[in-house]
Symmetry: C2
Subunit: 166 residues, 2 copies
DNA sequence: AATGTTACGTTATATTATAACAACATCCCA
DNA sequence: TGGGATGTTGTTATAATATAACGTAACATT
């Protein structure tokens, strides 16, 4: 498990999201090429749709978008792409929402904690060593071998808090 | 948010589970009486079925058991009982499993982290102050107001580890 | 008893995800 | 270059989880 140098911020309301998208796709291309993974047209497009914003998106939403684009798509189409993207660590599944969101550091086997705004729907991916070590410590005490962590915190982000004083 | 004095252990393989059940039901009765909540026959039975063991159980499993007992039950029947029990903090929902498990300290508004064995299916409820404070600290840094936490760690428990050397 | 409220029954449907198999594309080596 | 192995996508059907909507029954309060 590699540890990232920095935890992330919540996506700012006014950030230049186009660079998020292009950056994510470039990273994905490079990573897949390097690993011999096949980022097909379909998978690339699904990843692009997921990166349309920082809000986790449902499988059937993605499916509908593909259909509108004229592609013949049924549920397995999208779920297979999602499986590939998850296995390649290009996206994460947000269990509490049954939704999928782009990963900030693709290909890296990293822990991830998510802060998800219940108002604007945006999700911020964190990598907090303190949380990880606390879990590891509990696991050690229990004699428990950790396989998967699901750490998702729902609430209201700073931006929405300041703009809900109606 | 009250903090519990002790974190729990994984349910031991040979513990006297009958006392777990009777204790849980007694606590539930007392708590509901005190709070003026109506622990009806149905709700009580659902809670009892959930406490049959320490393995989170799915809504449709519970539904099937109710049906076998001769009760007229459709999905809303069970989901309404589950909602009541969750709102009363008598059970927790395990998001990563779509399943429900009895709560160790009913009625208390407490944080909860779950360690879930992928082999035997048992779940252990924790209340680790370090995890909580780490999350609170991140939230503060983000200006994020925490509403709900979903912290679920899947893996292999000590007991299953020792017995899987086949 | 009349009334308001809560809980439950019932039917239908929404939402999320997978099974199974066929068709097609890509890769690798003989 | 051909031809089988492997991987990807299309297609149909269905599983698994959850909720909407509405009526009826039980309970509580007066
Ligand atoms: Zn962005
Ligand atoms: Zn927000
Ligand atoms: Zn027990
Ligand atoms: Zn186990």
């Amino acid at each position: 498990m590699r540890r990232l140098k920095h935890t992330k911020q919540f996506p700012a309301a006014d950030h230049d999201h186009k660079t998020c998208i292009t950056h994510a796709l470039q990273e994905a291309e490079a990573y897949c090429k390097q690993q011999g993974l096949r980022l097909t047209e379909l998978r690339r497009r699904v990843l692009e749709l997921i990166w349309a914003n920082h809000q986790p998106v449902g499988a059937y939403d993605l499916l509908e978008q593909l259909t509108r684009e004229g592609r013949k798509a049924a549920p397995p189409t999208i779920y297979r792409s999602l499986d590939f993207l998850m296995q390649s660590s290009l996206i994460h599944r947000i269990t509490s929402l049954n939704a999928y969101v782009g990963c900030n550091h693709p290909g890296l086997d990293h822990a991830a904690q998510f802060f998800i705004c219940e108002d604007c729907g945006q999700a911020a991916e964190m990598d907090d060593a303190k949380i990880e070590s606390a879990i590891a410590k509990d696991a050690k005490r229990l004699g428990f071998t950790v396989e998967k962590r699901t750490i998702e915190v729902a609430g209201i982000c700073a931006h929405c808090k300041h703009h809900s004083k109606t």
